[in-house]
Symmetry: C2
């Protein structure tokens, strides 16, 4: 009989912040801690900070560290799950870092590692779909657009652990420039960054928008929640930009259905969470228009409610799966 | 000890023709028979013609039908491999046809069925790559563009058996109209049909081309081999059209790499076979430009030499795998 006080810690390692959260064995979130990543201080400092964040989270929740059965962690970039290594993480400036080994040394607990979008996908899969679908593609819309793939009930990460780069699928040859340097990536058309760019350029062209009242003249302070406020105020520019982004995301979703023919397309991430009412319906409508006949049979869409918690939840799921 | 005269028959069922070919157990092609499909006469007539084509192929090769260990067949459309059913084949006008059962009744031999592009992929995988890669995406460029996916060493066909519709991945939102009714599909940009359309419209606009000397004024008679002749004659229009198509196919290939991160991308089909020298290098160069950093490690490209024989070869492989 397992101790009912056993728990897992899920860690979401991002380019700017570290989030750590203990979860009960039934995936109830027991609390959260947050630290800045400070990647510029180098890998050793970041590793220390991850360990500190995990300890703080356990301490804040009043838990006994001895009852922690495992720590799961989602890291950005290409991750070799089996070797416990971050192969390549441009956001952190890391290459071939044995994250699992280094963290286990610091934490004296079993650590399990995967790519951040894989981990988010796993979180939605277990927490919101009870691990039932055999195949699923997750689309996470935020600053960028990331993806995670579940096939035959297991995460699929490809020959070199870089599968699922759905944000860098070209859907508009010679389209707008993406952060990756190429043109026409889904991320350059449908991400929060893409929406903010289009708004800034429209404002530069003299278009009016309620956003200027909401955030003032410095549009670099824009957040997804401001777009929601503007939409609720009936702002036409924001409505148009949000619908355009939804159109492109819908086309990206259709491409994924035509290629993977999954049971579920999951829409997640901060943008979907903040703008669900305005975006999810048009995304699904556009996707259905562009899905090849036959591939839509049995297909379901799920707008995840996990939002920014998908990462910590999925990381706890990862720990629960692996520590078992 | 198996009889060295044992053989398999591979059948390629297309919208216009049926090809059947006996293969030795070591995948040596022993001969070929061809019949028109005549899909307009209805499923029962087509089933009879497939059986006739198989019998003729065995007879022409002087083989003993009793030594046929199985018949493999690749059919266009969505195919349920396990149930042996064609779910949906618009080219043939078929829906929910129990092809395996019906053919076994006519042939008195075990019949195994899969989607035509899956079967072509299987043919390249076994015959040209000795079944070694763990993951592979096949791109078959002909009148249309079809795909086949091998993951973890097995064909992947999705929840509803329609995965791998790579020709209907949108890569140019609002691009040229595709045969499927949508705009900007890879097939509408990189297939033989797309190339011929671009040539016809350039000729209508008064551009000169050696093709008019090669085929005369009726460009509806164009074949891939004519493009090769024109290229060899230094034709600038054909050069441009072929390079444009290669560019789009390269972007499509990059999308597949970014999503599947496979060990191999296979380029196959009639167009690649006829125009390999002109197309394969630019396809790979463009793909490498658009592949997300990291995903190109370990990736290999293979230009299949099987050409139009990929279908019969793969169908024989299917029979050999399943009858074993």
């Amino acid at each position: 009989m397992p101790d009912p006080k056993e728990f897992y810690v899920g860690v979401d390692l991002g380019g700017t912040k570290i989030l750590a959260a203990p979860f009960s064995a039934t995936l109830k979130c027991l609390g959260k801690s947050k630290l800045r990543t400070k990647a510029d201080r180098g890998p050793a400092a970041v590793l220390d900070r991850i360990a500190r964040c995990v300890h703080e989270a356990i301490e804040e929740c009043g838990l006994d560290p001895k009852l922690c059965r495992g720590v799961g962690i989602g890291a950005p970039g290409a991750v070799d799950f089996e070797a416990g290594k971050v192969i390549f993480a441009p956001n952190l400036g890391w290459k071939d870092l044995p994250l699992k080994k280094e963290l286990e040394k610091r934490l004296k607990m079993p650590v399990f590692l995967d790519n951040d979008c894989n981990v988010c996908t796993l979180g939605v899969f277990e927490k919101e779909l009870a691990g039932k679908p055999s195949s699923l593609v997750g689309m996470f819309i935020g600053t960028g657009i990331g993806g995670g793939i579940i096939l035959n009930g297991a995460l699929y990460s490809g020959a070199g652990h870089t599968a699922g780069e759905i944000g860098h699928m070209i859907i508009q040859v010679d389209g707008p420039r993406c952060g990756c340097g190429r043109r026409g990536c889904l991320e350059a058309l449908g991400s929060r960054t893409a929406m903010f760019k289009r708004i800034e350029s429209a404002v530069d062209d003299g278009r009016s928008t309620a956003l200027l009242d909401i955030v003032g003249d410095d549009l670099s302070l824009l957040k997804s929640s401001h777009l929601l406020e503007a939409l609720e105020a009936g702002d036409k520019l924001v409505r148009q930009v949000v619908e355009e982004a939804a159109h492109f995301i819908g086309i990206g979703a259709a491409n994924l259905v035509n290629l993977f023919n999954p049971e579920y397309i999951v829409l997640g991430g901060g943008v979907i969470c903040a703008l669900e009412d305005a975006m999810v319906k048009p995304i699904i409508e556009t996707a259905r228009e562009y899905i090849f006949p036959g591939a839509e049979r049995g297909l379901q869409f799920l707008a995840s409610k996990l939002g920014d918690d998908a990462g910590i939840t999925g990381a706890a799921v990862l720990a629960r799966r692996c520590a078992a």
